[in-house]
Structures are given as C-alpha cells and as structure tokens.
Point group: C2
Chain length 196, copies 2
DNA sequence: CACGTCTTGAACTGATCAGTCCAAGATGGG
DNA sequence: CCCATCTTGGACTGATCAGTTCAAGACGTG
C-alpha cells in the first residue's frame, strides 16, 4: 500500500476542485474530499496540507485553467474586439454547458461566501477574482477603445460574465444566457463603431 | 421571565435575516441566530420553527421587502422606461451603499449555495429569484418595447442587477458599479429610441 | 392570593466537523 | 534477503452542529 505515491496529483486536484466547485468551501467536508479524491485523510494532509491549503490550490488551479482560456479568447482583440468579447463569453457559456463540470463558478461563489472564509483565503479569492477586469480592459484598449470606455466596458463585461454562473445555477436556459450576453455584445459593437 | 412574549417579531426576523444575509445559510449556526436575535434556542424553535423554516421566512421577508421597492421603481415604466430601469438599479445600488445592511444579496448567494440546501428550500430560493425577470419584462413592455426585446432586456437587466451584489462583495467601488449599470442603461435607451 | 399556562434558559443528545496519531505494510536500496 | 522509509487506513480528540427536553418562574385569570 505504500512506499510510492498511489495517486496522480492532477487527477486528485481536479477531483478536489470539482468538489469545492459543486458544494462550496463550507459544505465540503474532509470526508467529501476523501471520497471524491479516493485519498485517505492522512494522505490528504501529508500531500496537500490542511483544508485551507487545498482550497487555495484548487482556487489557483481554477483561475489558471480558465484564465488561460479567457486570455486565448481575447487574443484577437486588436483585430476584432467584438469577436474577442464574444469568444470571452463563449468560454463561460461552454463551461456552463459542459456536463463534466458543475454549474456555477468557483470564484463567484467563493467571493459571495468570503465573509465566512478565513481572512487570508478571502483576500486571495478577491485577488484572483479581480484579475478579470484588467484582462478585459487591456483587450478593449488593444481593440481601439478609448481609455474611459474601455474601463467602463471592462467592468461591465466582467460583471455580466460572472452573472452567467449565477443565472445558470438559478435555472436560466442557454437561450436566456445568450440573450444576457447579446445585449452586452450589441452595446459593445455600437460603442466601437467609428461614429456614434 | 415568561407568560408574555418577550420580543418583537419584526425586530427578531430582521436580525435573523441580516445574519443569514451576512454569513449565508451554511455558516449561520443556531447559536449565531440566538446571539443575533437575543432569543434562546427553545424560543426560536417554539416561535419560529427549525432552521429551514426560519430561513424560508427570512427569504420571503427579503423578497417582499426589496420586491416592493423594485415594483415601486418600475411603476413609471409606461411613461419613462429608461428612468424606471435606472430607478430599479438604484434600489440595488442604494442597498449596497447602506451601511445598516450587509454587502451581497441574500437571494444571489442562496442560489449559488443551493446545491448545499435541502431540495425544498433550494426550490423556493429559485422561485423567488425568478420573480425578477417577469417583473422587468412587464415593465419594459409597458414602456413600449417589443416582446422579443423586452424578453432579452429583462433577463439581461436581472442578470446585471444580480451581478452588482457579487461585484460589490468582491470590492468593486461605487463608481465601478455605476459603470456596470451605465452600459446597460445606455443600451436600453438606444433600443427604445424610435428609429435604430 | 392561588393556580394553570406559557415563555425561557440551560443542560443534554447524537451526529459531524477538522485535524492528529500510529501501527500495518508495501517499496526499493543495499 | 533484510531493513530503513514512506504511504496508507482507521481510530481517536475536542469542538461545534441542529434539535430536544425540562424545570424554573413570570404572567393573567379567577
């Protein structure tokens, strides 16, 4: 049973991340994590640290995985900023539609639950959550938007993107989610047109 | 110490509601509720039922209180739908700015945490949460919007309104929250203008 | 003033929580 | 083949959870 690690770290971290994602920090017990990962409690502690440390690793994993996808979606912003934002939203819509992964958004629900988290974890959550806005602002400026408009649209798009997870968990249909982003994309296209 | 009720029901329900609102269902213990309301555990049980029953009463109280404010804000939609939606958002912005009341939104965070709630409570949360969209749709149609546009804007405005609570809890400034709604209000004004 | 009724406070129950500890045993180097 | 090393499983700890029970005692009625 021992002598060599009996598990694949990536598989285990994915399982833990999905567990936190589905149930949130407060409603995920170490028994849940043990069941989800297939690891015993002492293995979790010796390999991954305590619950807070594991949660932080899952948050970082989530932020990196989807952050990379968001960056890729926005990479064409200089040529076609509207298509870039559309692709940005598609990352979230695709994630919501993916049956292999829970509804909702680990970042959004962690932010909402932040008063119940330990202060250092709550701080980290807000930092990761705050990465979205500058990412969008840079893309919109690269797409030729004025500083002021880019600032406003960046925070608006970040807010709408985040709202998709909440609306999805509330039972909104894919069509309704598309309508939500449609209004924003139309407004962006209008704002980017040379003359108002 | 007894013979007559020692407390005011409205005061107690407000205190319980704010406790759930601040910390969420999972992270509010009966000891927390007892401390917040000033009532003993057995008084809570005899007067208000168990934790789920009390939570449902707090949800209804929240939905009614702010639902009435949203209705009042939208009451001028037939004459000036843009001003009505602006007033609608102002209800939420005012609530976020109110220091007497927690950040966030009891409905939004309960929806996000719904997989951890008992099924019947989760159902009720989604029902209450879903009241926002028809309210907005009716107002926009009264303001002269086409059925299709009213449908799309209703779900968009509901999503953006909900996102304000998340963004506020994540640390967004009042100016950023105003920028988020500004994009939506501008898009609405544009959509309502007689000729595109 | 006496008694039935009802609220209240505190102790209690069994379950579950995060975290610790240690013996059992598998592994790989010598 | 043997032994040091490390993972693993399961038992354990003390704290906290939701919910129950019951005696103490304050009120209103007669």
């Amino acid at each position: 049973m021992a002598g060599k690690k009996q598990f694949d770290m990536d598989t285990v971290l994915d399982a833990a991340m999905i567990q936190f994602w589905r149930s949130g920090y407060a409603d995920t017990s170490l028994d849940d994590l043990s069941r989800a990962t297939g690891l015993n409690r002492s293995s979790i502690y010796s390999s991954l640290g305590d619950k807070d440390a594991l949660f932080l690793r899952c948050l970082d994993r989530y932020a990196t995985r989807y952050g990379d996808k968001f960056d890729a979606a926005l990479s064409c912003a200089a040529e076609d900023p509207v298509a870039a934002v559309r692709a940005f939203f598609d990352v979230t819509l695709g994630r919501i539609a993916d049956p292999a992964v829970p509804d909702g958004c680990l970042m959004a629900q962690s932010v909402m639950a932040s008063p119940a988290l330990s202060p250092s974890v709550a701080e980290h959550v807000k930092e990761l959550f705050g990465l979205q806005r500058p990412r969008l602002r840079a893309a919109l400026k690269a797409g030729g938007m004025s500083d002021e408009n880019a600032e406003d649209f960046a925070v608006h798009v970040a807010a709408v993107n985040q709202s998709l997870a909440v609306m999805g968990r509330a039972g909104a249909s894919p069509e309704q989610l598309r309508a939500i982003v449609g209004v924003t994309v139309d407004a962006l296209a209008r704002a980017l047109r040379p003359v108002g």
